[in-house]
Amino acid sequence: MTSSVSIRDLSLNFGAVSVLQHLDLEIADGEFLVLLGASGCGKSTLLNCIAGLLDISDGQIFIKGKNVTWEEPKDRGIGMVFQSYALYPQMTVEKNLSFGLQVAKVPQVEIDKRVARAAEILQIQPLLKRKPAELSGGQRQRVAIGRALVRDVDVFLFDEPLSNLDAKLRSELRVEIKRLHQSLKNTMIYVTHDQIEALTLADRIAVMKGGVIQQLADPMTIYGTPENLFVAGFIGSPSMNFFRGSIGRKDGRPVVDVGGVAFDLSRYPSRAPLKDGQAVVLGVRPEHIRVDEPVEGLVSHPATVEIEEPMGADNLLWLKLAGQPISVRIAGQRRYAPNTPVTLGFDMASASLFDAGTENRL
């Protein structure tokens, strides 16, 4: 697989503030890469560096094997879609789509052809004569995508394109972007802080924090085996349950001792031998805890239901174990009244264990 975008040792400072430090990233041809992270972690900054809208402090950027570090944005073979749509308000949709091509002095016949094709793909033919102010949010974002589409570029950059839309439209357009990627097979780099978007769209997700990529992997790996405590806590809603404890032994087997409650680790696929007395954080996702289901191999503990949050397909229970609140996801039709005593079964094979000091996965 050839590399489409390649970022080597990229650093960027705003004056004294260092936003990105020595960042390396290889993006394969036709890949859908999502940059995910909390607000202010440098996602947009990284995207703007790739687009050439920010002058980088150090490092190199290659697109399609060409060193574009000093190239102008228009010469990089990229198209970009912004959160605020950024449509030219005084131009019609058609003019918005063709503006870049006219600047590039593309022949009018070719412009018409490309605009017609983009309008067809995005289903915006009836809107071509309108001004952006006369469009709905979803239609505006379609036009913004169309503007990137007509430029016939290798790489699409999206900066939170759906954040300004309401929930229903967001999920519709999300599917549409995925469909677009499947039919065009372009490389796409997509910035979001919405983990559902990240998990559903991405071939690979790069989880960022403080300008550093914490983990770069496919969605299932990110979700299932997070590399550190930050990634584990960031992905998943409701978030993973964390228990602080220490490694100990019980009946000759390794356990995590959480305030007197022991979690048997013999099924946990640890990467390195665990030391006795080591301070650790145990993480278990809400759906990896069973309620009143005597399945073999689970670590069982008694607990009491505090609150129930029915969500239709799922039912979310909030309980207390060893003084800590836990959330558990069960099937929607199983209901529990508050104060019901239950037995929790923990699926330790799917759990995550982190060192309390380094916060890395064990």
């Binding site: 102008e72 944005p73 228009k74 970009m80 605020s84 950024a86 030219y88 870049g100």
Partner: protein, 313 residues
């Protein structure tokens, strides 16, 4: 009674039901003579009178002949309307040196105001755009200097500028005055434009750069069409400011190039002969007519510019 439910209602109950039906409903009535309204309209009326009364006196006086003025009733309307004073003010009033009225000053002022306004707005809008969107080396320093420039009193700079213009050989010419007006308008206009362009979404500028547009294309095709309101504001500021200018007009030009304001002063303050109040009033109104006209016309343009959605995304 047909409705069995109503059988149970007692007399008191029926009253309660009627109250409920006849209670407040729909739009709340507005009392037109509330204390608040009297305050507001009273104040507005007094303020309006305060400004309109002098104007009234001027118009009335300018339409009277001298004998009628000597009667001394400045508020009484003219018995015999005459446009003689207006004609005289425009074409034949004496300003000490020559006797061709305000017309010469009017055309001088036009020849000063139009180029000064156009040039200063063109340069300042480009400056403001560059400062807002293209961070170049030293742009911060440049901006600071401009802001400081906006606060330096004019008087301090008059003498140095006289020398500079003299050395350039354009002291006393219209060109010199146009340059002076352009320079002095620059700080405040640049600030005005910079702040406006900064308020436009930055992503629009980024999108245009990705589309391959350069400095001038972005300015002409993207920024200008979105900025009609601020251009109108700048135009009002410049036209009224330059038209009403007196100091620079006296200092930097020769008598044959004096702007209208200076000529008005010379007519009104001329010492020979009797004071012709009617001519003075007419001359004053004529001089003030241009800024007034600009306010009326462009004020409507301004509102229309906003209403047309020129600034909305």
């Amino acid at each position: 009674m047909a409705n069995p439910g109503s059988l149970a209602i007692t007399v008191a109950g029926a009253d309660a039901v009627r109250d409920e039906l006849s209670g407040p409903r729909g739009r709340r009535p507005q009392r037109s003579f509330s204390g608040r309204n009297i305050m507001i309209y009273g104040t507005l009326l007094i303020a309006a009178l305060y400004y309109l009364l002098p104007l009234y006196v001027m118009v009335v006086t300018s339409l009277k002949g001298m004998p009628e003025i000597r009667l001394g009733n400045i508020f009484s309307p003219p018995v015999e309307i005459t446009f003689e004073p207006w004609a005289k003010a425009w074409a034949s009033a004496c300003t000490g040196l020559n006797c061709d009225g305000l017309s010469r000053g009017f055309w001088n002022s036009v020849r000063i105001t139009i180029p000064s306004t156009v040039i200063s707005i063109a340069i300042a809008s480009i400056n403001g755009y560059a400062l807002a969107n293209w961070r170049f080396k030293g742009s911060e320093v440049f901006f600071t200097i401009l802001i400081v420039g906006a606060f330096i009193p004019y008087q301090v700079m008059i003498y140095p500028i006289v020398i500079v213009l003299r050395e350039m050989g354009i002291y006393g010419t219209l060109t010199g005055l146009v340059i002076v007006h352009t320079i002095f308008g620059m700080p405040i206009l640049t600030l005005l434009f910079r702040n406006y362009f900064v308020s436009l979404p930055e992503e629009l500028f980024k999108a245009a750069r990705i589309d391959g547009a350069g400095f001038w294309t972005i300015y002409l095709k993207i920024m200008l069409p979105m900025s009609l309101p601020i251009f109108v504001v700048a135009m009002i500021l410049q036209i009224t400011g330059i038209w009403n200018d007196f100091l620079f007009g006296v200092v930097f030009t020769r008598p044959e190039y004096y702007p209208m304001t200076v000529q008005l002063n010379n007519i009104v303050n001329s010492v020979q002969g009797v004071k012709e109040y009617n001519v003075n009033m007419a001359a004053t109104i004529l001089t003030g007519a241009v800024p007034l006209f600009v306010y009326f016309v462009s004020g409507r343009l301004f509102v229309r510019g906003i209403a047309a959605g020129a600034v909305k995304g």
